[in-house]
C-alpha cells in the first residue's frame, strides 16, 4: 500500500514535468502543424542555464530559496525564449511554405546542433547541484515503509496545473490566442485581416520555449543533476504525451504527461526498471493504432 502511494506521487511528479514539456510541443503544433523536435533540447538548455545560475547565486551567497528560484526562473526563461525565437528564425521560417517534411528534418538537425553545442561548451559530464529545496512531508509509515511527499514534488505539480490554466485561458479567451488559432487554420486569411503572421508564430515559439524553461528549472531543482543529453529522452516522452493526449490539445498534453509518468513509475517499481520505456512507447503504438487523434484531440474529419 505504502509503495503504491509512493509510486503514485513519484509518477504524478514525473508526469507533470512531461506534461509541462508536452504543453510547448502541442502549442507549437497547434499553430503551425509542425512537431518541433528541438523542443526537448530547448528544455535541456534551460536546465543547464538553471544549474549555472544556481551555482552562481550560491557562490554570491544568495541563499533565500524563493528569491534564488525566482531569479533562476527569470534568467532561464529569458535566455531559453531567445533560443526558441532563434531556432524558429534560423531553422523553420526559411522553410515555411516548403514540404511538411522539410521543417521536421531541420528540427532534428537543430536538436543535434543544440546537444553538441552544449556538450562542447559545457562538457559532457553530469552537472550536480546541491538540493535547493530539500525536505518534505512524511505522510505515513506502514510495515517499515515511509511514504514521502517532497516540497519539490508539490511545487512541480502546482506549477504544471497553474501553467495549464494560464495557457488554456490565453489560447481560448484572448485576442492573441484567437490570432494563433487563426494562423493554424488559414494563414493567408489571417494576414488579410491585418495580423502579422510571422510575429504571431515567433511569439508562439517564445512562449513554448518559456514553458520548456520552467520545466528545465523544475527538473534541475528536483533531481539536482543535468547533462547535455537529458533533452532527447524527455523530448521523446513529452512528444508521446502530446500524441497520447491529442496533439493540439493543452489539457490533453498534461493528461498524456501524467499517464506516461504513472506508467513509467509503476512499470519501474513492479515490473522492470530497465524496461519502463517499453511501457511508454508501447502505449504510443497502441494509441496511434486505435485512436490516432489522441484522448482529447479533435478528429481530423471536418464538415466543410
Amino acid at each position: 500500500m505504502g509503495q503504491l502511494i509512493q509510486q503514485l506521487i513519484n509518477g504524478l511528479t514525473l508526469g507533470a514535468v512531461y506534461g509541462l514539456i508536452a504543453l510547448g510541443y502541442t502549442m507549437v503544433y497547434g499553430i503551425i502543424g509542425m512537431i518541433n523536435f528541438a523542443h526537448g533540447d530547448i528544455y535541456m538548455v534551460s536546465a543547464i542555464i538553471a544549474v549555472t545560475v544556481l551555482t552562481l547565486l550560491g557562490s554570491l551567497g544568495i541563499a533565500a530559496i524563493p528569491l534564488s528560484l525566482l531569479i533562476t526562473l527569470a534568467v532561464a526563461i529569458f535566455f531559453t525564449a531567445v533560443y526558441g525565437w532563434a531556432v524558429e528564425r534560423v531553422a523553420y521560417r526559411p522553410l515555411r511554405g516548403s514540404t511538411r517534411l522539410a521543417p521536421l528534418i531541420s528540427a532534428i538537425g537543430m536538436s543535434i546542433f543544440l546537444q553538441n553545442m552544449v556538450q562542447l561548451t559545457q562538457g559532457a559530464r553530469v552537472k550536480p547541484i546541491a538540493a535547493l529545496l530539500p525536505g518534505g512531508f512524511e505522510l505515513f509509515t506502514q510495515n517499515g515503509f515511509t511514504v514521502h511527499l517532497a516540497y519539490t514534488q508539490i511545487l512541480i505539480v502546482i506549477t504544471t496545473v497553474l501553467l495549464l490554466c494560464v495557457f488554456s485561458y490565453l489560447i481560448t479567451r484572448t485576442s492573441f490566442g484567437r490570432q494563433q488559432r487563426a494562423c493554424e487554420q488559414d494563414r493567408t486569411m489571417t494576414s488579410l485581416l491585418g495580423i502579422n503572421v510571422d510575429r504571431t508564430i515567433s511569439l508562439t515559439f517564445v512562449l513554448g520555449a518559456a514553458l520548456a524553461a520552467v520545466a528545465g528549472v523544475m527538473v534541475t531543482v528536483y533531481y539536482g543533476v543535468v547533462d547535455f543529453s537529458i533533452g532527447f529522452v524527455a523530448g521523446i516522452k513529452a512528444f508521446t504525451a502530446a500524441v497520447l493526449g491529442g496533439v493540439g490539445s493543452l489539457p490533453g498534453a498534461v493528461l498524456g504527461g501524467l499517464i506516461i509518468g504513472l506508467i513509467e513509475s509503476f512499470w519501474g517499481a513492479y515490473l522492470s526498471p530497465a524496461y519502463s520505456d517499453l511501457g511508454t512507447f508501447g502505449i504510443l503504438i497502441l494509441v496511434l493504432m486505435f485512436r490516432p487523434s489522441g484522448l482529447l484531440g479533435r478528429p481530423e474529419v471536418e464538415k466543410v
Binding site: S175, R178, Q179, R181, A182, Q185, D186, T188, M189, T190, S191, L192, L193, G194, I195, N196, V197, R298, E302, K303, V304
Partner: protein, 243 residues
C-alpha cells in the same frame, strides 16, 4: 468626389502567368464599382494585388492618395480596407462570435459591442448561431459571416470577391440587397468582383470588364448592361439563369 482607390498601369504575375497587363481602374468615395469578366480573366488577382499577394510587378496602387503598392499584406487592412474573399475563408473551427472578433482585431475596442449589435441586426442568423462553430453553418450563412467579419474592422473600402458564388438564389438576392444597403444607408465604398454580371451591373454605379488581364470596357452599370459586347459575352447565359 474624391478618389479612394486607384490602380495605374498595374501588372502582376502568378509564376509564369502574366495575369494583369497594365490595369487602370479607380473607385471614388461612396461608389459601388463592379469588375466583371470570365473565369481566369484576372479578377481575383486584381483584388489580391491590392494586398500584395502577389505584389504588382509594375505600376502603382494608391489608397486615399497613399502609395500602398509595396505595403506588407498585414498592414493593408489596418489602412481601412476589408476583403470578403473568394470561397469565404471563414475560420471553420472557431465560433461565429470568434470569427467576428477576428475581424475587429485592430478596430477600436470601444466600438466592439455596438458593432456586434449592428452585425446581429443586419444578420439575425449570426446572433442565433453565435456560439456555434462556423464550419457547421450553411454556405449562405458562412457568406453572411464573412461579410460581417469584414465589416467588424470598420473599413472605408469593402472588397467582395464573388460573394454570390455557389449560393442558393435566396441568398444571392440577400447578398446584393446587403451590398446596396451598405452603400445607400452607410455610404460604404464597395469594389465588387462578380461572375454574376447581371446582378452586379444592376447594383453598381460603374463597372469594368476584364479580359485576359486587361480592362477592355468601362462605363456606368446601365451602359454596360446595354452594351452588345457585354450582353453577348456575359449576360445571355446568365440572363436565362436569372430571368
Amino acid at each position: 468626389m474624391t478618389t479612394m482607390l486607384e490602380y495605374s498601369g498595374v501588372h502582376a504575375h502568378y509564376g509564369a502567368i502574366h495575369a494583369l497587363r497594365g490595369v487602370d481602374l479607380n473607385v471614388q468615395k461612396g461608389e459601388i464599382v463592379t469588375l466583371i469578366g470570365a473565369n481566369g480573366a484576372g479578377k481575383s488577382t486584381l483584388m489580391m494585388t491590392l494586398f500584395g499577394k502577389p505584389t504588382a510587378s509594375a505600376g502603382k496602387i494608391h489608397f486615399q492618395g497613399q502609395d500602398i503598392t509595396r505595403v506588407p499584406t498585414h498592414r493593408i487592412s489596418r489602412q481601412g480596407i476589408a476583403l470578403v474573399p473568394e470561397g469565404r475563408r471563414i475560420f471553420a473551427r472557431m465560433t461565429v462570435l470568434e470569427n467576428l472578433q477576428m475581424g475587429s482585431t485592430f478596430a477600436d475596442p470601444a466600438h466592439f459591442d455596438a458593432d456586434l449589435q449592428r452585425m446581429f441586426a443586419m444578420f439575425p442568423i449570426l446572433e442565433q448561431r453565435r456560439e456555434q462553430r462556423a464550419g457547421t453553418l450553411s454556405g449562405g450563412e458562412q457568406q453572411m459571416l464573412a461579410i460581417g467579419r469584414a465589416l467588424m474592422g470598420r473599413p472605408q473600402l469593402l472588397l467582395l470577391d464573388e460573394p454570390s458564388l455557389g449560393l442558393a438564389p435566396l441568398y444571392i438576392k440577400q447578398v446584393f440587397k446587403i451590398i446596396r444597403e451598405l452603400n445607400e444607408a452607410h455610404g460604404m465604398t464597395i469594389l465588387l468582383v462578380e461572375q454574376n454580371a447581371h446582378h452586379a451591373l444592376r447594383v453598381a454605379h460603374r463597372g469594368y470588364v476584364l479580359q485576359h488581364g486587361e480592362i477592355v470596357l468601362t462605363g456606368t452599370g446601365e451602359q454596360l448592361l446595354a452594351s452588345p459586347e457585354v450582353r453577348a459575352a456575359y449576360l445571355e447565359s446568365s440572363a436565362e439563369a436569372h430571368g
